[in-house]
């Protein structure tokens, strides 16, 4: 099993390197860093000198190595737009996005899984049909529309919840969190639900499909033939077998959450990484774009690695060798 972990680790590293390479290519080939950093007044010779100093004439591989080395040490370059270190810019925004993402994911799982189970156990009920219809519509409405609707309903018409910003935040070490104030939670609620809604419908459908499949299997039938109580069959046997493949999707879901956070942050003006990235696209701020890429990929790879390990821990078929 250690071999398996090792293999996965190496794969993850490989993916990270590939992404770093992509980011680096972005730096090198899209636009000219020198013209970005200097104005029209700088002479050609000065530009050349700058080029030499920054090592932009060195061979490709060397530049890439330097790039990676810098990154690993925490030096992420400077933004074209604001001239600030990209590292600082991004890290100041990470808490906002991560908190939003995790709460959204939480909501989606907390509501999605039980709903999925319910609709699988009562496939022909009226409640099920309604839920299915609703989710179908839910999947079709773009996240930003949902956000707008929420803002309209709860922010404008009813005035219950704030429609932009994070509310009250608290500093914990270097992490600026909004989870510790009522105000913060009020501001977090709408964006988190908006973000989580799409994932919720996906989770629910997946759980439903898996569970219906599992309920049809022979061992459930055999359990019934033996007189094992239905409750036990549903919630111990069936549910456990259903959740195993669902866990693997959670990794992908996390990626989705981070991606859609761009939209949600835009609608609610939530000061997170996504909003930053959006602005960087508008202004073709390459350094920020590149680093954002790497950071996102990192989170994604990390979560997937954890999910893979979890999978091995849960399914005995992967853990224990066949000793027959």
């Amino acid at each position: 099993m250690t071999y398996f972990i090792l293999k996965r680790l190496i794969q993850s590293v490989f993916v990270m390197i590939a992404v770093a390479f992509l980011a680096f290519s972005l730096f090198r080939f899209v636009g000219d860093p020198i013209t970005q950093m200097t104005g029209v007044e700088t002479s050609i010779e000065d530009q050349e000198r700058l080029r030499e100093e920054l090592g932009l004439n060195d061979p490709f591989v060397m530049q890439f190595a330097r790039f990676t080395g810098d990154m690993l040490q925490g030096d992420f370059g400077y933004s074209y737009r604001t001239r600030q270190p990209v590292g600082e810019m991004i890290s100041s925004r990470i808490p906002a996005t991560l908190e939003l993402g995790i709460v959204a994911l939480f909501i989606s799982l907390l509501v999605g899984i039980p709903t999925g189970v319910f609709t699988a156990l009562r496939p022909r009920g009226f409640a099920t049909q309604t839920i299915l219809m609703t989710t179908l519509v839910g999947v079709s409405i773009p996240t930003f529309v949902i956000g707008i609707i929420f803002i309209f309903l709860f922010g404008v018409q009813l005035g219950w919840l704030p429609t932009f910003g994070r509310g009250g935040t608290v500093q914990i070490g270097g992490w600026e969190s909004s989870l510790f104030t009522i105000d913060g939670w009020r501001a977090l609620l709408l964006p988190a639900i908006t973000l989580g809604l799409y994932q919720l419908t996906l989770t629910m459908r997946l759980v439903r499909a898996e569970m219906m499949e599992v309920l049809r299997s022979d061992y459930i039938r055999f359990g019934m033939a033996r007189g094992v109580p239905m409750r036990s069959l549903y919630f111990k046997h069936a549910l456990a077998n259903t959740l195993v493949p669902v866990i693997t999707i959670i990794g992908l879901q996390f990626g989705g959450v981070i991606a859609f956070s761009i939209v949600t942050e835009s609608v609610f003006q939530w000061p997170g990484m996504g909003l930053l990235f959006l602005e960087s696209i508008r202004f073709v701020d390459i350094p920020v774009m590149g680093v954002y890429l790497v950071v996102i990929a990192f989170f994604f790879v990390l979560v997937n690695l954890i999910v893979d390990l979890l999978y091995v821990a849960i399914d005995p078929r992967l853990r224990v060798k066949d000793t027959s």
Binding site: M1, T2, Y3, F4, L6, S217, D218, Y219, R221, F222, G223, M224, A225, R226, G227, V228, P229, M230, S232, H237, A240, N241, V244, I314, D315, P316, R317, V320, K321, D322, T323, S324
Partner: protein, 563 residues
């Protein structure tokens, strides 16, 4: 004890109600094993499911009575029905792999079952579980009980399944094809176990199977079903020794005997199409043209096939798995060589090596006088591609479901440049269909419109249209009902006789191989156990393994065989 009368089960569909079983009657006394035998689609599983109340929705019991002692099984509430399951009636299924929850330890599954019916502590429940496991023959039960299902072999898994069914002390156990997925030796053991349980614990068994040999080995009474109805019923000796119903007689005629080779099976006229003489002749003449060349034999020398192992550790290089060790044998030109092997013996790997799907690690193969290039070295246009044709096991996957029969059959003709005109190809295909006993009109249909047996015939037609000299039949009848099997074997014998094909006939069924082969090879764990003229091997087996196989294959006692 268990009495069933006038049982009728229907399934509603968009075409109206379909009757699955009609007017079924049977009875099982305590300690008695009642066999329910029939071919696929006969409705046997439906009877079992109806009795225990687990009919697949939307099926329903339309008529009839079912009683267990004095309990009316049909008019139970859902709760009562559920309580009765396990406590009084239990059921076991065919595939032990899917019958057990892969995520739960065996002991947990056993304890849960026991506690579902009795108020008993976990400790006591475990003790009882261990007892039962030992009773059914699992050694070291107190250790093995902690294992997961996938850690047991097939036969052991089925024992675990039986243990689970036993753990609730039912009066009746319905066993739906319990040994079909098992090897011969293991099957024999499980059948013996069932017999023991019936005798010692006085449990009534309903043994559902399509294998008549199984019935002969352990059943006390037997009912024969076809198309949802019970055709004949009585004690085993009565029904199998002196069958009254023509279907039962035909069924028994189809069972291949183990002790002698018969020329052709006796089959009822209905299934096969009477051949329109002129149409088929065209194909016959065309095939005979190919016979002008001499017969071709296969020689295999020191063949070795290894597969690389799966890496599980960083520092240890994985062991490679050897599927075939040093295999050498001859298929004499124009003869039929039977290859017998159980699952895991390597017989499929051998077929794949000969047809080039698998790369042998060492060894040499020759077709006739020419060397047969191994695996990757064999080009697509090598002549052996035409000369060697294969008939596969599963009629439901060997024909492309999205192609019409005409397309499937024309492929070999244009691929090998045998017939270049589209119209001619169609004519030849129709003629070939007639030759294998199908109607020429079937040419424009799709595979799903045919039964398993018919599809196998089409597969044979496809193989023949390549004008082969060497035919590999890989378990061609294992998926077919026994009466269809008889027809198919007849067909193969006819073709072999007429066209001088050399055939490699692979099967796990000793009786079938007996009927077909001139020479025989017994394969075990990738090694040849025995090799010789079929007759000699069957009558005087030299290897212990072969002897065991022959003994354990369930057969109709010769005293019962119809004349």
């Amino acid at each position: 004890m268990l009495k069933v009368k006038n049982l009728t089960v229907k399934f509603p569909s968009r075409f109206g109600d379909i009757t699955a079983i009609e007017d079924v009657a049977m009875s099982i006394a305590s300690g008695e094993i009642h066999g329910l035998v029939g071919e696929s689609g006969a409705g046997k599983s439906t009877v079992g499911a109806a009795i225990i109340g687990l009919l697949q929705a939307p099926g329903f019991v339309a008529d009839g009575q079912m009683t267990l002692a004095d309990t009316d099984l049909r008019n139970l509430t859902a709760v009562e029905a559920h309580n009765m399951r396990g406590k009084r009636i239990s059921m076991i299924f065919q595939d032990p792999q899917t019958s057990l929850n892969p995520l739960m330890r065996v002991e947990d599954q056993l304890i849960e079952t026991i506690q579902a019916h009795e108020d008993i502590s976990s400790k006591d429940a475990r003790a009882r579980a261990v007892e039962i496991l030992e009773e059914i023959g699992i050694q070291n039960a107190s250790e093995r009980i902690k294992a997961y299902p996938h850690q047991f072999s097939g036969g052991m898994r089925q024992r675990v399944v039986i243990a689970l069914a036993l753990s609730t002390n039912p009066e009746v156990i319905i066993a739906d094809e319990p040994t079909t997925a098992l090897d011969v030796a293991v099957q024999s053991q499980v059948l013996d176990l069932i017999k023991e349980l019936a005798t010692n614990r006085k449990i009534g068994f309903m043994l559902i199977t399509h294998d008549i040999g199984v019935i002969a080995q352990v059943a006390d009474r037997v009912s024969v079903m076809r198309y949802g109805k019970v055709l004949e019923s009585g004690t085993t000796a009565q029904v199998l020794g002196d069958p009254q119903h023509p279907y039962t007689q035909a069924l028994l005629d189809s069972v291949p005997p183990l002790d002698r080779k018969i020329d052709r099976f006796r089959v009822p006229e209905e299934e096969s199409n009477p051949s329109q003489k002129d149409v088929g002749n065209h194909a016959e003449r065309w095939l005979l043209e190919g016979v002008m060349q001499e017969n071709v034999g296969l020689k295999v020398e020191n063949l070795r096939v290894e597969f690389p192992g799966v890496r599980t550790s960083l520092w240890q290089k994985p062991d490679s798995f050897t599927a075939l060790h040093d295999i050498s044998f001859d298929v004499k030109p124009g003869s039929i060589l039977g290859l017998v092997g159980e699952s895991g013996s390597g017989k499929s790997t051998l077929a794949k090596a000969i047809t080039g799907l698998v790369n042998p690690t060492a060894g040499h193969m020759a077709l006739g006088a020419e060397t047969l290039p191994p695996g990757k070295l064999r080009t697509r246009i090598h002549p052996s591609r035409q000369i060697v044709q294969m008939i596969f096991q599963d009629p439901y996957s060997s024909l492309n479901p999205r192609h019409r029969i005409s397309a499937i059959l024309s492929e070999p003709l244009w691929l090998y440049g045998l017939v270049n005109d589209g119209g001619e190809r169609r004519e030849l295909a129709r003629a070939m269909l007639d030759l294998v006993g199908m109607a020429p009109e079937d040419l424009d249909k799709y595979p799903h419109q045919f039964s398993g047996g018919q599809r196998q015939r089409i597969a044979v037609a496809r193989a023949l249209l390549a004008r082969p000299r060497f035919l590999i039949c890989d378990e061609p009848t294992s998926a077919l009902d026994v009466s269809i099997q008889a027809e198919m074997l007849n067909l193969l014998k006819d073709l072999h006789a007429k066209f001088g094909l050399t055939i490699l006939f692979i099967s796990h069924n000793l009786a079938v191989v007996r009927q077909m082969s001139d020479d025989m090879v017994v394969l075990r764990n990738g090694r040849i156990e025995e090799f010789g003229r079929a007759q000699n091997v069957y009558q005087n087996p030299k290897s212990e393994y072969t002897r065991e196989l022959l003994e354990l294959t369930p057969v109709l006692p010769t005293t019962w065989a119809t004349k």
